[in-house]
């Protein structure tokens, strides 16, 4: 009885309180930045960069769950972003809801649709490992893009237009904070440890009595849901989407940012995106005097990946984490 009473109270631990405060601070600053942008105090260009960064961090961090923590090389992340983008856009266009419910349902719906599709794909995919898994996920990425291209209802290869604009920097910041709260709690839970154990010794973790395929599929489904969320944010930010923007080029971009930051580190996902985006934007400005040179950026992006692999195989962060992301160690 006494034990039950104590559990029933369940006060918030100091560590979670810190995390909540941190997120509150982040969201208040984001709202402030958004306001300054709206009144023209901060250049819209900078707000745009921050927004894109936010969406990319969601994509990279969710892929990190697979490529970093679980240790499986998945190559189809942009496909799930595409599913999320299209399903979110359709919900936003056709349900005719007022602003807030529309935003909520298009984001949640996109995440659910992507998750369900990923779960079904995962049932097939995780019969394989390693190179085969990479090829299969890449194949599904292409299939998804091709299917969308051939559905006339969503505009086919011309793309889908007329999506109401619901996403701004602040909304992205809210989703980012939500994503990191979920991912951080997952990674430091027993599930996260289990994914790491699968990465380090598959047979040993199976010998602990774990249904490996189910656990891998769980990570896959969660990662795809967040990719879908990012896709839906993207669609309602750009107001226009076409299937081409979700093919393997986008997957590669996500991978570059992930490996630049470091796999198996949530801090690395943030750092990778920020460094990559800023580098690309600086290059754009540097090369602006000659429009033909701007295209060189697309050569430089894969070059970055090559240089990382040659010099810092574990990315900028390696497997380390910034202190504020780690939950506090229990005092035992």
């Amino acid at each position: 009885m006494l034990e039950k009473a104590i559990i029933g109270k369940k006060s918030i631990s100091a560590g979670s309180l810190k995390w909540i405060r941190l997120n509150a601070f982040f969201l208040i600053s984001a709202a402030f930045v958004q306001m300054l942008g709206n009144i023209g105090f901060i250049n819209q260009y900078y707000i745009h960069i921050l927004t894109v960064m936010g969406m990319n961090i969601i994509l990279v961090a969710s892929l990190n769950l697979l490529n970093g923590y679980l240790g499986e090389f998945a190559l189809g992340h942009a496909g799930f972003m595409g599913i999320g983008a299209y399903s979110g856009a359709l919900i936003a266009i056709y349900l005719g809801l007022p602003f807030f419910p529309r935003l909520f349902f298009s984001l949640a719906g996109a995440a659910i649709v992507s998750g369900v599709v990923a779960y079904i794909i995962g049932l097939i995919t995780f019969k394989t490992v390693g190179d085969y898994l990479a090829v299969i996920t890449l194949g599904f990425n292409m299939i998804i893009v091709n299917i969308i291209q051939n559905i006339d209802f969503v505009g086919g290869p011309r793309g889908l237009v007329g999506i109401p604009k619901s996403t701004n920097f602040f909304i992205v910041a809210v989703c980012l904070s939500f994503t990191y709260t979920v991912l951080r709690n997952l990674v430091y839970s027993n599930y996260g440890r289990l994914w790491i154990s699968i990465r380090e010794n598959l047979i040993a973790s199976e010998l602990m009595g774990v249904n490996i395929i189910r656990m891998k599929n769980l990570a896959f489904t969660i990662a795809a849901s967040f990719a879908g969320l990012a896709g839906s944010l993207w669609a309602q930010y750009q107001q226009f989407i076409n299937p081409k923007s979700f093919d393997y080029t986008k997957t590669t971009e996500i991978l570059v940012m992930l490996y630049l930051g470091g796999t198996g580190s949530l801090s690395g996902s943030i750092l990778g995106v920020v460094v990559y985006t800023i580098t690309m934007e600086i290059l754009r400005n540097l090369l602006e005097f000659n429009p033909r040179l701007v295209e060189l950026r697309m050569v430089i992006s894969p070059m970055i990946l090559i240089v990382i692999m040659l010099t810092r195989q574990f990315g900028l962060m390696g497997k380390r984490e910034w202190k504020w992301i780690q939950p506090e160690k229990e005092g035992n």
Binding site: R193, E200, I203, M208
Partner: protein
């Protein structure tokens, strides 16, 4: 009824037969050693019991029931725990996380706590190092962790694959002493070893496996006296 029965077990890797119909019995509470040279089929036997590899012919009975149509992860909840060759610890998790993860199939929180305190009383070193990354442990400590992890699964039968591998003679002695202790407290152990001398010292019974066939079997004291075992594993006596 034996706790574990292998009846005429045949296993092949592709066209090559690794086991040619072996029959092994392990009674509840026993410590049985499975001896043999490299490539004789010892590890294959353990792997087929924990259903990591497909079986061509024969049957495996645990507690009187066939476990042939179960998968590797379902075996664990029956009460069979396998410590694989090379220990299979997770280097970038802490000692505590390694242990906690291994109780994945145990739902009873009290039991987990009880098992944990039992492990720490047997291996005080692990308690000292519980917040250390498992990859930074010494070889002996890693072996202790591997055995501790098997104990966390709340098993009735523990399958150990060469626990002496890569350990100094002194540490081997220590690990084997602990295995005997665990056995005395009621856990049945099937031990695969190359170190025949040590393995027979603590075992009740033994099997010698040669080229995928059982060559010899009997009580441990008998095997220790057997001429063939002596020649094969202890070296010829100098005259």
């Amino acid at each position: 009824m034996s706790l574990l029965e292998l009846n005429n077990l045949t296993v092949s890797y592709g066209p090559i037969k690794a086991l040619h119909g072996i029959t092994i019995r392990v009674e509840e509470g026993e410590l049985v050693s499975l001896l043999g040279a490299n490539g004789a089929g010892k590890s294959t036997t353990l792997r087929s019991i924990s259903r990591l590899i497909p079986i061509l012919e024969g049957d495996i009975l645990f507690n009187g029931k066939s476990i042939l149509n179960l998968t590797a992860y379902q075996i664990v909840s029956l009460g069979i725990s396998h410590v694989p060759e090379g220990r299979g610890i997770f280097p970038s998790l802490t000692v505590m996380e390694n242990l906690e993860l291994s109780s994945w199939t145990v739902k009873d929180k009290k039991k987990i706590k009880h098992n944990l305190s039992r492990i720490f009383s047997i291996f005080p070193r692990l308690e000292e190092r519980k917040n250390q990354l498992a990859g930074t442990l010494s070889g002996g400590e890693q072996q202790m962790l591997a055995v501790g992890r098997a104990m966390m699964t709340d098993c009735r039968l523990m399958l150990l694959d060469e626990p002496s591998m890569g350990l100094s003679p002194l540490l081997v002695k220590e690990v084997f002493k602990v295995l005997k202790e665990i056995n005395n407290s009621g856990t049945t152990i099937l031990l695969v070893e190359q170190n025949a001398n040590m393995a027979l010292k603590i075992a009740d019974r033994g099997y010698v496996i040669e080229n995928g066939r059982i060559a010899l079997e009997g009580p441990a004291e008998h095997l220790m006296q057997d001429k063939r075992v002596k020649e094969a594993y202890f070296g010829k006596e100098k005259k």
